[in-house]
């Protein structure tokens, strides 16, 4: 038989950022093998250089719409936006990693390889336009993160969190794959373009097979975005995993998952939005309730932030509900804002942990202003932003999402979101109040955080405020990135 490759759309330029990230992972793999132990600190440097190259390669994709490889991936503004966001998160993570890893005696090269693998998976997920690539992107990022959460091999809690994540993740993957199989059965196509064409035709809204498939697919994606009621793994995994891994995972995984959710619901199934509106609204409301209410009773900062992350998944989902590009652009802006502030908050926990301190318990944070004024100040900024208090970026993120709901005349979820935002002030401000409280014992000498860590924290804090003062530029980018269509 004759094989025709002409219509395939082989376009390496469209996947160049992903190629560079994977290539860097392979280079790091060999360097880890060849370099003497004393030179091991080159690995993070090589990783950062590779990521910077991928960042530069992502920029030309802005404003394009290049479907490549038989419609399995696309290079468009949304992909470019998330590439930049994910790569910046990864670079910042790598910059604060060596100090933390050395403190915990985890300074192995595999860490950087797996981090790059997870980043490649997330970038792929954000660019995926076929059920096959969505699945492979999710698996690539998941498998890397399973191992990373168990990276502290001698710490039982880390192992426990990895096992929990693996088992529940496998369970969620089952749902995801089942949903994909049903969607393929209903539409006869694996590409989102083909599925969108089928969904736009009449009769799709009554196709049980398709609707069941969308339902199962949503379960799988909501699990990765840790939206309630598929959030059960989040607090335990976030708490048990090494803090640096939690920092990366909490921000990057959620961003990539929401990019895929946007592509599926906004670009592929807008024609049957009446069918998915209600379940999605329910997931968003559940996330808002569970995230914000349970965070109040937690005393462990990693768990508080885990529940706050569940709540924020709810806010981001609210922007999907209108089913329009305008609503989705509010979500995209929210994702970027969440990435900056939540990364910062976890990075402070990481910075304290780099001294090998028992930091996650909130009692340890009592009087932090008197011991570590810098860390406490930036933590206050991140907490205020997560709560949504102006002039931080968190305020505008919530404002834009609420605005999108008002424009679409969606009231019930909006009321829940506003009430829950007020509830959330309690646990975010509690952290600030605890840090301000007078310490019970005398202040002991503390190790310094190091230049790269304080630099990263300073950049994140500055970005949190700067984006809050000038939100329009990023909002313009977000609305450009969110204008998806097939």
């Amino acid at each position: 038989m004759k094989i025709d490759l002409s219509g395939l759309g082989i376009d390496y330029g469209a996947i160049l950022p992903e190629l560079i990230v994977v290539g860097t992972a392979i280079v790091v793999l060999f360097l880890d093998l060849l370099l003497p132990v004393a030179r091991r600190r080159w690995l993070p440097a090589v990783t950062v250089v590779g990521l910077l190259a991928a960042l530069i390669a992502s920029l030309p994709l802005w404003g394009q719409n290049r479907a490549a490889f038989a419609d399995t991936v696309v290079a468009d503004s949304l992909a470019a936006f998330f590439n930049v966001l994910l790569i910046v998160i990864t670079i910042l993570t790598v910059l604060i990693s060596p100090r933390f890893l050395r403190a915990l005696d985890l300074d192995h090269g595999e860490y950087y390889i797996l981090l790059l693998g997870a980043t490649a998976g997330m970038m792929l997920l954000a660019a995926a336009t076929s059920l096959m690539t969505i699945f492979l992107g999710i698996e690539l990022l998941s498998i890397s993160l399973y191992v990373l959460s168990g990276f502290a091999r001698s710490v039982p809690r880390s192992q426990e969190s990895a096992l929990k994540y693996l088992l529940l993740g496998g369970f969620a993957t089952g749902f995801l794959l089942y949903g994909m199989a049903l969607i393929y059965g209903a539409t006869g196509s694996t590409t989102l373009r083909g599925i969108a064409a089928f969904a736009a035709a009449s009769g799709a809204a009554g196709n049980v097979l398709l609707l069941l498939g969308i339902g199962f697919l949503s379960v799988g994606l909501a699990f990765k975005a840790s939206a309630a009621p598929f959030h059960m793994w989040t607090p335990d995994v976030y708490e048990g995993a090494p803090t640096i891994v939690t920092t990366f995972m909490s921000v990057a995984t959620k961003s990539a998952a929401f990019a895929a959710i946007g592509r599926v619901f906004i670009a592929t199934f807008p024609s049957i939005s009446a069918r998915w509106y209600f379940p999605l609204a329910l997931i968003a409301i559940f996330s808002l309730f569970i995230g914000n209410l349970v965070a109040i009773i937690e005393d462990n900062l990693k768990r508080i932030l885990a529940y706050s992350g569940i709540a924020h998944a709810g806010y981001i989902l609210l922007g999907i509900l209108p089913g329009t590009a305008a609503g989705f652009s509010a979500s995209v802006f929210y994702i970027a804002a969440y990435a900056v502030m939540n990364f910062g908050a976890f990075a402070v926990v990481t910075a304290l942990g780099a001294g090998g301190e028992q930091t996650a318990d909130i009692n340890y944070w009592r009087g932090l202003f008197y011991r570590r004024p810098f860390l406490a100040t930036v933590m206050t900024i991140f907490m205020l932003s997560l709560a949504g208090i102006p002039p931080t970026v968190g305020f505008f993120a919530k404002l834009f999402v609420f605005q999108a709901l008002v424009n679409a005349q969606i009231w019930a979820p909006l009321v829940v979101a506003v009430v829950m935002t007020i509830v959330s002030f309690y646990y975010y401000l509690r952290v600030v109040v605890v840090m301000l409280a007078t310490p019970e014992e005398a202040v002991s000498e503390q190790p310094r955080v190091g230049i790269s860590t304080s630099g990263v924290l300073g950049v994140a804090a500055l970005a949190t405020i700067a984006l809050g003062v000038f939100p329009t530029t990023v909002l313009d980018w977000a609305s450009h990135a969110a204008s998806l269509h097939f």
């Binding site: 094989i3 595999e110 693998g117 690539l140």
Partner: protein
Amino acid sequence: MVVAFAILAAWELVTAAGVVAFRRPIYNALALVANMLGLAVLFLILNAQFLFAAQVIVYAGAVMVLFVFIIALLNPASDLTLGRAGNEWIYGLVFGVIFAALLGGLLFNRGLTGRQGASTPEAINAVGNVQALGAALYTKFLFPVEVASVLLLIAAVGAVYLAMRRIR
């Protein structure tokens, strides 16, 4: 064909339940072998002869033989102390029944309308089973296949890291 499918589906369900229900690892593994073989026959009645052979050789054969050997050689039963099964399975049963009732109600009321993809039996028989699969893998699904290779590489790195004894 429907009868064959019904028998196979029942076989799959029973063996899958066996994978999680048996209390001795070797029985779990053997139930998984039985499950994989059933899956292979499912491929066969769907006219996918090559996948049938691959499923038998790779999964039911190679992978499961490794599983069974490891279980037989290392005898993890001596390390494993399984507590008495708790009552968690009741929740699973309740939610499973609710879920199945919902699905069943939906399916019987509305019926299923699928749509055939490009690979109909006629189209496949025209070029041959293996050729059709190979052509699909290296044209339409070229990119996913390449991504799968990256996935395997990362998985191998992770597995080696987790399995290695204290290094360096």
